[in-house]
Amino acid sequence: MENINSRLKFYCDADRCIECFACVVACQNAHELPVGIARRKVVTLNDGVEGKETSISIACMHCSDAPCSQVCPVDCFYIREDGIVLHDKEKCIGCGYCLYACPFGAPQFPKDGVFGAKGAMDKCTMCAGGPLETNSEIERHTYGQNRISEGKVPVCAAMCSTNALMIGTSEKVSELYRTRVLARGESKEANNSYLWNVAYNKQSRKGLTQ
């Protein structure tokens, strides 16, 4: 499992995403999240501008070099061999550093008790639960469903209305996406692989920041 391509990844095909919020609400329902917490978010850029409007669904990207895990002062993150980045809510103190380190704004902090203090961080688990006993009630209440352990696909991608959201090993996802793009028979520019270019490709980073 050393091969980096065997890690599980999300990818959102911006040519398919129509901002229907299915992934968001599916996730909220599956994990019974408190209102106001959306582990997955859908954002539309250039709303209403002809030729420029782009919608995209975004959540934790389960980075190979997860910056969140590098900055956590209590070291509550762990990365599974299949690449899923999880964290221990018992340990988490809700400091927010993971959010600052995250390029994608994935970590969120439910308000917890007095003074609006932030509670333990909450983010996409790729439907893989957390460090508690698998599929126990307490795991479900703390982290949500553990669908991966049931052999099921994460609920957001499983229910995506247009199959824009893909999940799988990065190898498989890119293979699938490549097939799709080839079928489209066109070489689309940046927005096709907006996130991945930015996140994983040093070359295009510079282009985009400039």
């Binding site: 900055v71 002062p73 209590v74 221990d88 103190i93 927010g96 550093y97 994608f104 203090a117 980073r205």
Partner: protein, 299 residues
């Protein structure tokens, strides 16, 4: 006293209004479109923060944690504390209100600094409840400190302006490296105290602001963010960097201050309890002020 009350209430008001800014917009300042737009800019502050937090902050705090105790111990062993007569006359230095303010600040620092260290070394403590409680204490202590900042600034800022005495004071490191009791050039506050003031007060405000930002996280700060031309998440990242770096400095100076008041100058702490300093202490350590008081016939 009246002006303080006005000050106090305005301070409280500003604190609460900060609290009250709602997040009820369609497009969350943090998680909405802004977040997506911030992705390409991650490699500025995002990456810097990650790098600093991963590589440097813990080292900095480790140095801060041990520097003063070690240096203090050495100083104590080699040079020893300064002891002044407690039988002589006393000089009135600090009024009741300012003593309360100062001691509130001191109290809050006694919470802020250790809890700050606990957070910085959260993994050492294994995270969880203890560190979380410390985090919340850190937050709760902040308003206590915040209340005291403006009064202290207003009361002391004139005495805190650097002058030639301070240059001389610096040259001899305040006389702390010698066991001799000869008058040290200093006004009501010596250069060390002044330095502490300038770090603790403007720095303290900065700590409060950056801390509040990080504490409240997604209150809408788009006006501020626009002012600095950055996104809100970058504002947070900048805050985290400032808070950490400044935190180290403040913590270090705080420990020096405590060492001086409680250990290096025997009994100095009493001036902030009773308001009176020993005449001898003033004569030696604040010779310029002593001279001035004498000229004014207040001694």
């Amino acid at each position: 006293m009246k002006k303080y009350r006005v000050l106090l209430s305005s301070l409280l008001l500003s604190m609460t209004s900060l609290y009250a800014i709602s997040t009820g917009t369609y497009d969350d300042p943090l998680y909405g479109t802004a977040m997506l737009n911030a992705i390409p800019k991650y490699f500025a502050f995002g990456e810097v923060f990650t790098y600093l937090q991963r590589e440097w902050f813990w080292k900095g705090f480790l140095i801060a944690l041990f520097l003063v105790p070690v240096a203090g111990s050495i100083h104590y062993m080699i040079i020893g504390p300064k002891v002044f007569s407690h039988d002589g006359k006393k000089i009135f230095a600090f009024g009741l209100f300012m003593r309360i303010m100062h001691n509130l600040a001191a109290l809050s620092f006694l919470v802020l600094v250790p809890t700050g260290f606990v957070m910085a070394f959260g993994d050492f403590f294994g995270g969880g409840t203890f560190v979380r409680v410390c985090k919340n204490l850190h937050g709760i202590a902040t308003p206590v400190f915040a209340i005291t900042v403006l009064p202290m600034i207003i009361a002391w800022i004139r005495d805190m302006i650097f002058n030639m005495d301070d240059v001389k004071w610096m040259m001899i490191v305040g006389g702390y490296l010698s066991k001799e009791k000869k008058p040290i050039p200093a006004g009501k506050f010596n250069a060390g105290q002044k330095a502490w003031f300038w770090i603790a007060m403007p720095g303290g405000i900065l700590m409060i602001l950056t801390g509040a930002l990080m504490f409240f996280l997604n209150i809408n700060l788009s006006p501020v963010a626009t002012l600095f031309g950055v996104s809100q998440i970058d504002l947070l990242r900048i805050s985290a960097i400032i808070h950490n770096v400044l935190g180290m400095v403040v913590a270090t100076f705080f420990m020096v201050h405590v060492y001086m008041a409680a250990i290096a100058i025997k009994g100095a702490i009493h001036s902030m309890i009773t308001g009176y300093k020993e005449e001898e202490e003033v004569a030696i350590l604040h010779s310029s002020w002593y001279r001035k008081l004498k000229e004014e016939g207040k001694v």
